[in-house]
């Protein structure tokens, strides 16, 4: 098995819009994500979570600091890091099925295999019967599930997920949590998972990193791996509730600071 640990080293990022002042979005972020570890990122809106993910994805150049995956410095995007974007970024001219198999086509997987895989994924995200629909004909939650399926299709070693369940209703979200955990058991991956939902973060992640209000820094990292038993049991323990409370307070403090800026 190849290793796929991630390391952020003093990463800063400044946006320079053509008009207006430069915005310092990230300020010296350092974070280690171990191989096959699931790390959730929490932080107030606008603190730079997506920015951090885009840098890790290799979509924007890292100007200050370094990011490396599996010991190699990130210089550009690649299918070793699967990304689920906050705004889905589905290809509107492709059907659900075509969106899902697109990455597999690029890997030159033979057609029958591709189609079989697509069918499995469509079932996994509960979109049976929508394979031939276009994204414009789907609800927000359905689009999000297509985006998840499309990324899972290429079975990347590293998963970067930007609020991947944000548009889902509570029931579907719970289902997706179970599916994700099952996938992690079958084929463990290194995951960086951005969310606003503290309970979701504690439930899914091995560790939760809380970011400060903009400019984003890592404020605190909390271990959330259940000390005993499974995750399904974990959710009913005192330990879980305490961690949720603790993290919730951290995030709230930062959210208030972010508000105060305006």
């Amino acid at each position: 098995m190849t290793s796929s640990g991630i390391s952020f080293n003093g990463v800063s990022h400044t946006y320079r819009p053509p008009r207006g002042r430069p915005v310092l979005a990230l300020d010296g972020v350092s974070l280690e994500v171990k191989d096959r570890e699931f790390v959730a990122l929490l932080g107030p809106s606008g603190c730079g979570k997506s920015t951090l993910l885009y840098l890790l994805g290799g979509f924007m150049p890292v100007e200050t600091g370094t990011i490396s995956v599996a010991g190699k410095t990130v210089t550009g995007p690649g299918p070793d890091r699967g990304v689920v974007f906050q705004n889905f970024a589905l290809f509107p001219w492709k059907t659900v099925q075509q969106n899902i198999v697109y990455g597999l086509e690029k890997q030159r997987m033979p057609k029958p295999e591709r189609e079989k895989r697509a069918q499995e994924l469509i079932e996994l995200v509960h979109l049976e019967g929508f394979g031939d629909s276009y994204p414009s004909q789907l609800s927000g939650g359905m689009k999000q599930r297509v985006a998840i399926a499309r990324t899972l299709a290429i079975d990347p070693l590293t998963l970067l997920m930007d609020e991947p369940f944000g548009a889902l209703d509570a029931q579907t979200r719970t289902l997706m949590h179970e599916e994700l955990l099952a996938i992690m058991r079958r084929t463990p991956k290194t995951v960086v998972f951005v969310t606003h939902d503290v309970r979701e973060a504690v439930y899914l992640a091995d560790r939760v990193a809380v970011m400060t209000a903009r400019p984003g820094r890592i404020k605190e990292i909390v271990d959330t791996k259940p000390s005993t038993g499974s995750r399904a049991e974990f959710i009913h323990t005192q330990e879980y509730t305490e961690k949720v409370d603790y993290l919730w307070n951290l995030v709230r403090d930062e959210a208030i600071k972010a508000q105060g800026e305006h």
């Binding site: 699967g82 974007f85 509107p92 994204p135």
Partner: protein, 258 residues
């Protein structure tokens, strides 16, 4: 049966203003508000049109006109899309074309007519070149804008799925730009029609525009009007065809999601 009736009613309703104008025309002409020469009745114009169709006269003219239109339009479409894309993606090309487009776009292209005659002669090529030159600008502008405004997240997600930089243009940029590019083509097509008629009127060489001028010289006003009716019908059919192609091509687009 119900469906068919409903469809007919909808079509009738949508063309009711045209029908109203036609009735007003016929009525006005029959009341002799103006002389027959200035405004021949619609029925006489239609009769004339029918005769011209049967004799084949108008079909030859129409064929020539449409050939010139479509030839010029196709050149404009192909050149416009290529220029639009390269402007958006290649710096030198942009440096060269940016001022050319800003000066050329609002320019009344018909001003170049004498020069085009000088360069290409009075036959088909000068007309086709004129049509292409007049129609290329909206295609360039639309393609340029479309290519530049392709959602960066689409490019990013394609790259993270393993699409190479070289494949991005064909596989992501072009399909994403398609709706706007097609709008450019839909603007260019009527321009092609207008310009071809003007060229034929001023340069002769048959075609609908040419025969309308001939009719006018012979004081044959039903002939002029039947030319107008013919070009109106063909023009609206061609524009309608573009709309249908658009629906077909862009089934995926929000505009077609019901």
């Amino acid at each position: 049966m119900e469906r068919v009736n409903a469809n007919w009613r909808r079509t009738l309703l949508r063309s009711s203003s045209v029908i109203l104008l036609a009735v007003a025309w016929e009525w006005g002409a029959r009341m002799h508000f103006v002389s027959d020469f200035l405004l021949p009745s619609l029925s006489s114009v239609l009769t004339r049109l029918f005769e011209d169709i049967v004799s084949g006269d108008i079909l030859v003219g129409l064929g020539l006109t449409m050939l010139r239109t479509l030839a010029g339009f196709t050149i404009a479409a192909a050149a416009g899309i290529v220029i639009g894309i390269t402007i958006a993606r290649i710096r030198v090309i942009r440096w060269f074309f940016d001022p050319v487009v800003s000066v050329g776009n609002p320019l009344p292209k018909i001003a170049f007519l004498p020069i085009f005659i000088l360069w290409f002669g009075v036959f088909d090529w000068s007309k086709i070149a004129m049509v292409a030159f007049s129609s290329v600008f909206p295609v360039v502008v639309a393609t340029w804008a479309a290519t530049e405004s392709v959602d960066k997240y689409l490019l990013w997600s394609a790259e993270s799925l393993g699409v190479s930089k070289r494949q991005l243009l064909w596989q992501i940029v072009l399909p994403a730009a398609m709706p706007q590019v097609f709008t450019g083509l839909q603007i260019a097509l009527p321009i092609s029609l207008i310009v071809v008629i003007i060229c034929e009127m001023t340069m002769g060489g048959q075609g609908l525009g040419g025969s309308m001028m001939t009719s006018m010289r012979f004081a044959d006003s039903p002939g002029v009007f039947s030319g107008i009716v013919a070009i109106a019908i063909v023009g609206s059919l061609v524009v309608k065809a573009m709309e249908l192609i658009r629906k077909r091509l862009l089934v995926w687009h929000e505009e077609n999601a019901h």
